[in-house]
C-alpha cells in the first residue's frame, strides 16, 4: 500500500465527487428532452464537477505550480461556462428550435411576436 498524506486522501475524495457530478451532467445530456433542459444539466453539473476536480487537484498538490494553475482554471470555468450557456440558449431560440411538448409556457416567444 502507498502511504498517502491526509491532504492527498481529501484531494482524491473531492476528485471522485467531481467525477460523479460530471457523470450526472452527461446522463442529463442523454436523458432530458430538448436543448434548453439539456443545457441546464450540462451547465450546472459539469461546472460544479469540473471545479470540484480542479479543487481536488489543488488540495492534492498544495501550493505548487500545478495547484495554482488548477485554481486559476477553476475560476475561469466558473466565470465563463454560464456565459457560453446563455449564448447557446439564445442562439437556439433565435434559430427557431422548438421547446419540448411538455413545455407549459414560453413568454420569450410571445414577447418576440409582440415586437414584430
Amino acid at each position: 500500500m502507498h502511504d498517502l498524506a491526509l491532504n492527498q486522501i481529501i484531494g482524491y475524495i473531492i476528485i471522485c465527487g467531481g467525477i460523479i457530478f460530471d457523470f450526472f451532467g452527461v446522463l442529463g445530456l442523454v436523458r432530458l428532452p430538448d436543448v434548453y433542459n439539456r443545457l441546464q444539466a450540462a451547465t450546472k453539473s459539469v461546472t460544479f464537477g469540473s471545479v470540484g476536480i480542479l479543487l481536488g487537484v489543488f488540495i492534492y498538490s498544495g501550493f505548487t505550480a500545478t495547484g495554482f494553475k488548477a485554481i486559476l482554471c477553476a475560476i475561469f470555468i466558473l466565470l465563463t461556462s454560464p456565459v457560453s450557456a446563455h449564448a447557446i440558449a439564445k442562439a437556439a431560440h433565435k434559430a427557431g428550435i422548438k421547446l419540448t411538448d411538455e413545455t407549459i409556457i414560453d413568454l420569450y416567444q410571445e414577447d418576440k411576436e409582440l415586437q414584430k
Binding site: R31, Y36, F48, Y108
Partner: protein, 167 residues
Amino acid sequence: MKTERKSRIVVFFLSLLIWILITMVCSIPSLIAGIIIALITSIFAGEMLIITERKFHLKRVWYTIEYLVKFTWELIKANFHVAYIVIHPLLPIKPGIVKVKTKLKRDSALTMLANSITLTPGTLTVDIDVDNQILYVHWIDVKFTDIEQTTKDIGGRFEKLLEEIFE
C-alpha cells in the same frame, strides 16, 4: 480618461500576477516576457475592466463574502436537484420560459445576476432585455408564471446583495 488609465494599470499588474502564478519560475527572462505580455494585454484590453469612482467600503467586502457563501450553497443545491431529476425514472420536469424583472442597471451587475441565476437550481438565463430590465429565464420546474412571483422567487435570492456590491 482618468479611470481608463487606472483600469489599464490594474489590468497590467493583474495579468503580471497571473503570469507569475502560472509559470512559477522566478528567472529574469521569464519575468521580462511576462512584463511584455502584460503590457500588450493592458494596451489592447485594458479599458474593459470596470472601475467605479467609489470609496472603499468595508461593508461591501462583507456583502461579497455573504454573496460567495450563498452562491456556493445554491450551486451545491442545484447539483443535487439536477442529479435527482436525472436519476428519477419518470423525469419530473415541467419546463417553460418565464420573465423576471430586475432593478439592476450596470452591465457588470446584470452579468453577475444572469450567471448566478444560471448556476442556481432549475433556472437558466436565456436573454436580457436591457431597456425594460427584464430577464428571460428558462425554468425546468415552473411554479409560477406571474412576473411578480417569479421575480421574488428567482431574482430575489441575489438581487439585494448584488445591488449592494455593484451599484
